[in-house]
């Protein structure tokens, strides 16, 4: 007996064809309906979902190809096989081009018909399963990463759900390490654009000349080294979302270009003249106070208002201390699984230390510290000594390589008044590496701390 009963609709104006196909497919174990015309078929399809339509190409009134076109344009969830009494290459090609799964000639070889139908139904099943899984995946992942029972986090999750469905621009504000990219991803996953790409641009990691070509693409020969035409991020998004992280770090010139793209919805590649239409949604994020920068004349006010259509403020971890145990446990499970270690939790001392810490680097700092503890700790419990946090009472210096590196980077940055290009040179690493280390350790220049909203 058939494990899953598929439904088939036979569409043919000849009674004898309908009868014998209904009979034959019933024997094969399918659930079969018949329609004498294309319009009858459409009403049956409107009434219930059918897995496969087998339609004759020649029928009075609407013919099989018109029916196929209608099924496609209405985006009905069904596969179509076209049948015909006269084999002609031309009509076969037309049917397949219009999206028919297969094309069969009457009378059918029983084996061929049976294989064609089986294949069409298999493809239909896979498509449906794929769509279902993608939907489930998108829904289940979207908000689970944003952990926290605190009031501010609950509000953030509500805001994400509210704004995801509407296509407006979102501005995410929050200190480094609070999870701005996670929020952007969650919005994208819950939005109607979720089956299109999410393109992430770390504006802070790019030099002024690079960022233009990154965002807008360039024509061949636009500058030295531009050997090929390259699509920018806005084009790459192709109906998806562009996430502009650290938006405050772009120059006034790029701000002007960006504003034009947001207004016109078209880009001009670097070195090009032709405008290209682009379809995207922008989510921007910053760890600075953009309103302050606008007052200081370092950020264009018109761009600020364009971006600040819907603002989400991510609280720093120190303002939601209550979430620390939950987050720490989540990261412990995540890294234990990744590294195949069997930790069951934190001992009392470790948990006290985690809760009392001020977390200047926010959730990212917490994640890094737990990850390191999973490496150095002894199962089954993480102890305070495994956590690379200075005990406030003891004040003993942390001599781990990581802590030393962090302190050294701060020192060099301060020496060069936070000029990252010079600091990177002094450290003997490139600017991007330094940028990532600054993010990783949650470092901020002194004046930025003042500018950041608490």
């Amino acid at each position: 007996m058939s494990p899953e009963k598929y439904s088939i609709l036979i569409v043919d104006d000849e009674q004898v064809v309908r009868d014998s196909l209904v009979h034959w497919f019933t024997e094969e174990g399918y659930e079969v309906e018949a329609a004498a015309s294309a319009s009858e078929a459409l009403s049956r399809l409107a009434a219930r979902e059918l897995d496969l339509v087998i339609a004759d190409i020649r029928m009075p009134g609407m013919d099989g190809l018109e029916l196929l076109e209608k099924i496609r344009s209405e985006q009905l969830d069904t596969s179509v096989i076209i049948m015909t009494g006269y084999a002609s290459v031309e009509s076969a090609v037309r049917a397949l081009k219009q999206g028919a799964f297969d094309y069969v000639t009457k009378p059918f070889d029983p084996d061929e018909l049976s294989v064609a139908v089986r294949n069409a139904l298999e493809q239909h099943r896979l498509k449906r399963e794929n769509r279902l899984l993608r939907q489930q995946l998108a829904e289940s992942f979207a908000l689970t990463e944003l952990i926290g029972q605190s009031e501010p986090m609950r509000r953030v999750r509500e805001q994400i759900e509210t704004v995801a469905g509407v296509d407006s621009t979102v501005l995410i504000e929050g200190e480094s390490g609070t999870g701005k990219e996670l929020v952007a991803r969650a919005i994208h996953r819950l939005s109607p654009r979720r089956f299109h790409p999410l393109v992430v641009v770390h504006c802070g990691a790019l030099t002024e000349t690079l960022i233009e070509s990154e965002l807008f693409g360039h024509e061949k020969g636009a500058f030295t080294g531009a050997q090929y035409r390259k699509k920018g991020k806005f084009e790459a998004a192709m109906g998806g979302t562009v996430f502009l992280d650290e938006i405050a770090d772009i120059s006034l010139k790029t701000q002007t270009d960006l504003l034009r793209v947001l207004q016109e919805r078209e880009i001009v590649r670097v070195g090009g003249t032709q405008p290209v239409k682009v379809d995207f949604r922008v989510i921007a994020a910053t760890n600075r106070n953009l309103a302050e920068l606008v007052k200081e004349g370092r950020f264009r006010s018109d761009l600020y208002y364009r971006l600040n259509v819907f603002a989400i403020q991510l609280p720093p971890l120190r303002e939601r201390h209550g979430d620390v145990p939950l987050l720490a446990t989540h990261f412990l499970e995540k890294y234990s699984r990744q590294m195949n270690r069997k930790f069951t939790g934190f001992d009392r001392g470790a948990m006290e230390l985690l809760v009392s810490h001020n977390w200047p680097g926010n959730v990212r700092e917490l994640e890094n510290i737990v990850e390191r503890a999973v490496v150095v700790g002894r199962e089954p419990l993480i102890r305070a000594a495994d956590l690379a946090i200075n005990r406030p009472s003891e004040g003993t210096e942390d001599l781990s390589l990581e802590a030393v590196e962090r302190r050294h980077i701060i020192r060099v940055l301060e020496d060069f008044a936070w000029n990252q290009t010079q600091a990177a040179k002094a450290l003997g690493i490139d600017r991007v590496t330094l940028y990532h280390k600054i993010r990783r350790y949650g470092l901020k220049p002194p004046e930025r701390t003042r500018a950041t909203r608490a």
Binding site: M1, S2, P3, V16, V17, D19, S20, L21, H23, W24, T26, E27, E28, G29, K106, P107, F108, D109, P110, D111, L113, S114
Partner: protein
């Protein structure tokens, strides 16, 4: 393989000139009694296709016999939409027909093999009997009720119904 008691009430009748000793053997091996006289298939003949319309044969069989009837034919059978059929049955109805025309090795240009022909004919007849009992095709490739559109597929299945189809067969007593 054991057929339920109701199968003994089905009549196995020749359609056209069916070899009598073959009919005898199929009847003996299945326990379904053979009857007579033979059905005249000429009303089902389609000169354009030089084949016999199996659906029409079912109507003729029902017109001639009361109760359940199984036609045994040596003719090339078809239904309008298919190039040929090995047999046809009314699902859960009264009449069925099967043909040995395309079960013979000679049809494929091979030397005759009587044992193989009997084997195939019995399977095909039991398959149509299953449809007569209302059974659809079975996804179990070894089951008699699995679909077969070529002799290779007929040979590939076993001579038994799977437990689920066997149970369905018993229930179809009526």
């Amino acid at each position: 393989m054991k057929l339920p008691a109701w199968a003994a009430g089905v009549r196995l009748v020749p359609v056209g000139g069916f070899p009598p000793e073959l009919l005898e053997e199929i009847s003996r091996r299945s326990g379904i009694p053979a009857g007579s006289p033979a059905l005249d298939p000429s009303p089902a003949y389609d000169p354009a296709r030089d084949q016999y319309d199996s659906t029409r044969l079912l109507l003729e069989l029902k017109a001639r016999w009361e109760g359940r009837v199984m036609g045994a034919a040596g003719l090339d059978l078809f239904i309008p939409v298919l190039t040929f059929v090995f047999g046809e049955a009314e699902m859960g109805g009264r009449a069925a027909v099967f043909s040995i025309h395309r079960l013979r090795q000679e049809f494929y240009g091979l030397p005759p093999n009587r044992d193989l022909l009997v084997e195939r004919a019995v399977r095909e007849m039991l398959h149509e009997l299953g449809h007569l009992a209302g059974l659809p095709h079975c996804p179990d490739a070894a089951c008699l009720m699995s679909p077969a559109h070529s002799v290779e597929q007929v040979d590939a299945k076993s001579a038994e119904y799977c437990p689920a189809c066997q149970a369905g067969l018993e229930r179809a007593g009526g």
